[in-house]
């Protein structure tokens, strides 16, 4: 199982789990990054970080370190 940080651009993946310390993890969930949701990396900033992602029809940018907490599978 890999993390969202290892996924290429424009490849839709399904979230299987979100880990991390409780408050941190809860905020990721509240942003719509819940197990079962489909997520796509749409853009990577020129310096390699952060990542602009699409989830539940909306867009937001998170850091690569945070994407590492999001377990995904194809």
């Amino acid at each position: 199982m890999s993390s969202l940080a290892d996924v290429a651009r424009n490849v839709p993946v399904g979230i299987t789990a979100v880990d991390g310390e409780r408050g941190f993890r809860r905020r990721l969930l509240e942003l719509g990054l819940t197990p079962g949701a489909t997520v796509v990396i749409r853009n990577v900033a020129p310096l390699g970080d952060p990542l602009e992602i699409e989830v539940r029809g909306g867009r937001l940018s998170i850091r690569r370190d945070e994407a590492k907490h999001i377990r995904v599978k194809r």
Binding site: E21, R22, G23, F24, R25, R26, R27, L28, L29, E30, L31, G32, T34, P35, G36, A37, N43, A45, P46, L47, G48, D49, P50, E52, V55, R56, G57, G58, R59, L60, S61, I62, R63, E66
Partner: protein
């Protein structure tokens, strides 16, 4: 105007166009203050045309579950805790292009039984993909009004809907998911521990189970903390609540989007502006323009302000009789007002440019582009623009930290901005370098020029290092890590009226709150260096010498000697002598001490104060000569290049600027942080200068 009979709160995710809705609903005439205990701006104003309805703006939030005190404001306002009036209605701004995520907050609010009304923003951006408001209203069980805040479309309907909803009967709590029996037991146990002022709702119990424990929240009663600890909630609570809400939204709301939102226009622009090569070049160009406009292009306006203040002082001198009153009015009051308004050109210019960039959608991209660099120093990507502005002047730069949502990010940035080489340090460096360093070359470059470059590099390194260290050592900044989120809004043509309104808001707040402190400090400093207004005993009779002077040159020499004698006997100079033992290990004599005290008004005042104390008036050329010729008792030069270096390091690191401290006080809402900034920078400056001078003396 009758007293407000209803309070309406305005909530929403960050970047949902809430500000334009707010401006449209109120006409932009807000009473602005801070929420008690936190430095989050609290705005309240009457609904336009309905003085009995009070509208309260709430900072953008993704969730009601808070962890820090500044995030808790959303919950306090929404359900009327912590002295906030309980709102009759909450207007939730919902971004039509991010429908499901922005409705998460609404689902949370409905669990509290708070009557809601949805203002569906960005409907123009969503275009044909936008959901049908009537169908959406049916699903959500609350009115939905599409608005385009920027053009004002839909605002009249929204106002009418608010008036109607305020009169409607209260709504019962609506839960979109069913808590498991285990969770239901925890909810009941925690709700039983609530104090009298808290509504005994399951929704608030759920809130407590989610965020009490490892939070930084004030005002949570010990009984509630104990009940939560006894219930021992785990991640299962979060899973149940968050997944339950999203499951409902996915099933009932997601399909109401008629298509995927068309983002092609913004994506085309992003392909250029966020491009690996070209994007960074354009970024450098935009930042260069921003920097130059503050650093250089504002100079004519600053000169004009200074000339106007000088002219006014001159006119007043012509009217008033010579004496203390005249000097007080001209040098104290007019000079003090001048030291406030001199900041206006840079403040107006910075907030005009920031407003344009923000409105266009580029400011969020600056954070996106720079985050990789800034975060290595524990700073937010959005700290880049304020820190860059710090090279011009710390005052507008500190004010620009408001673009960051979290208090911790704002304060950390404010703490290091005063370390950037602001333009007021330049005259000091220029004097020291010109007077005390030889004109040699190093590798074909002038050492004097290299020294100036080195001072800039030094300030960048120290400010970034200070951010890194303080993020790890200063307790309120070591906040628990939360996911860093930036949203890249669609590009739009900036609206001048919004930009000008923001500019005006910033400027009037500066004049009202920081301006008064700066004025007061200027007058105190003036008095320190002015009184007791007679030279020490045994001084020559300057009046007689002045009368006897037979040429303008001789007259000027006597006047300079008189001013020197007066300043040498002033309370400020006595203070300078008193601190000499403290600054002697840095290589400074008492005259530099007096200059440092004078520099509090503004760093460049160091040069003129030093001129007067050395009896050369304001002629910088003579001052340079004088500094070079000063000798110690043993005949060796008093001001060596090493003293110069130590002095420059001191000026680079010390917070020699009351205006910066005044504006930090305004932005943080208290004396705690300005005192901290002054203390840490003074200690840093002393230690660094001490090392430079002592180690340098040993090597020499």
């Amino acid at each position: 105007m009758s007293a407000p009979t209803a309070t309406v709160a305005l909530l929403g995710n960050p970047n949902t166009g809430k500000t334009s809705v707010w401006n449209g609903l109120t006409g932009g005439n807000a009473k602005v203050g801070n929420y008690p205990g936190v430095t989050v701006e609290r705005r309240a104003a009457a609904l336009k045309g309905h003085p009995s309805i009070d509208l309260v703006d709430v900072p953008g939030a993704y969730s009601l579950v808070a962890r820090s005190a500044d995030e808790q404001v959303a919950l306090d306002v929404a359900i009327g805790l912590a002295g906030e009036p309980r709102p009759t209605l909450v207007v939730v701004c919902v971004d039509a292009t991010q429908l499901v995520r922005s409705l998460y907050l609404l689902v949370q609010l409905q669990e509290f039984g708070v009557p809601c009304l949805v203002a569906l923003t960005m409907a123009d951006e969503a275009g044909p993909a936008a959901p049908d408001p009537r169908v959406l209203a049916h699903e959500l069980g609350c009115p939905v009004v599409p608005v385009v805040g920027r053009t004002g479309a839909g605002l009249a309907v929204l106002t009418q809907a608010i008036v109607a909803a305020v009169a409607a009967p209260p709504t019962p709590p609506a839960w979109r998911w069913q808590p498991s029996p285990a969770l239901a037991r925890q909810l009941t146990a925690v709700a039983a521990a609530f104090p009298a002022g808290w509504p005994p709702s399951d929704a608030l119990a759920l809130w407590a189970l989610q965020c009490v424990g490892d939070d930084e929240l004030a005002r949570v009663p010990p009984a509630v903390r104990a009940a939560v600890a006894a219930a021992a909630p785990t991640e299962a609570v979060d899973d149940e609540a968050v997944l339950g809400r999203y499951r409902w939204l996915d099933e009932r709301v997601a399909h109401l989007m008629k298509a995927a939102v068309d983002r092609r226009r913004t994506e085309r622009v992003d392909r250029v502006l966020l491009h690996r090569g070209l994007g960074l070049v354009i970024f450098a160009g935009v930042m260069f323009v921003l920097f130059m406009s503050l650093f250089a292009w504002s100079a004519p306006a600053i000169d004009a302000v200074e000339a106007a203040v000088g002219w006014l002082g001159h006119q007043v001198r012509a009217i008033l009789p010579d004496g203390i009153v005249e000097d007080f009015v001209v040098d104290g009051v007019i000079g003090g007002v001048g030291s406030v308004v001199v900041f206006l050109p840079q403040i107006l210019l910075l907030f005009f440019l920031l407003g344009l960039l923000e409105d266009f959608g580029y400011l969020a991209r600056v954070a996106y582009l720079m985050d990789r660099i800034m975060r290595t120093m524990s700073l937010h990507g959005r700290a880049f623009v304020p820190m860059l502005s710090g090279f011009a002047c710390a005052v507008p730069a500190v004010m620009a930290t408001r673009t960051m949502e979290r208090q911790r990010d704002r304060i950390l940035t404010m703490l290091v901005i005063p370390l950037m080489t602001c333009s007021a340090r330049l005259p000091v460096y220029t004097l020291i370098i010109a007077a005390l360093f030889p004109s040699t070359t190093f590798g074909g470059l002038s050492t004097k020029g290299l020294l100036m470059v080195a001072m800039y590099a030094f300030s960048i390194v120290t400010s970034l290092a200070a951010a890194w260290v303080m993020a790890r050592t200063v307790k309120p900044l070591k906040a628990k890590r939360l996911p860093f989120v930036i949203e890249l809004p669609p590009y739009r043509a900036p609206r001048l009226v919004d930009v000008l309104r923001m500019m005006w808001r910033k400027t009037s707040a500066f004049l009202r709150e920081a301006g008064t402190v700066i004025l007061g400090c200027t007058i105190v400093l003036w008095a320190l260096l002015y009184f007791p207004r007679h030279p020490a005993a045994g001084a020559p009779d300057f009046a007689a010498e002045l009368a006897a002077a037979d040429s303008p040159a001789a007259e000027a020499a006597v006047a300079h000697a008189r001013d020197q004698a007066l300043l040498e006997n002033s309370y400020g100079a006595r203070l300078g002598r008193a601190i000499e033992p403290a600054i002697a290990p840095l290589g400074f004599d008492w005259k530099i001490g007096v200059g440092i005290i004078g520099a509090f008004a503004a760093r460049e005042v160091f040069v003129s104060t030093l001129g007067v104390i050395h009896g050369v008036g304001d002629d910088e050329g003579s001052l340079q000569d004088k500094l070079r010729r000063e000798r110690k008792a043993d005949g060796s030069p008093r001001y060596t290049p090493l003293v110069g270096l130590s002095l420059m390091v001191f000026f680079a690191l010390a917070c020699q600027c009351m205006s910066t401290l005044a504006v930090i006080k305004r932005e943080t809402g208290g004396y705690r942080w300005p005192v901290f900034v002054f203390a840490y920078m003074t200690v840093l400056a002393w230690v660094a200068s001490f090392l430079v001078f002592q180690v340098g003396s040993l090597l020499a």
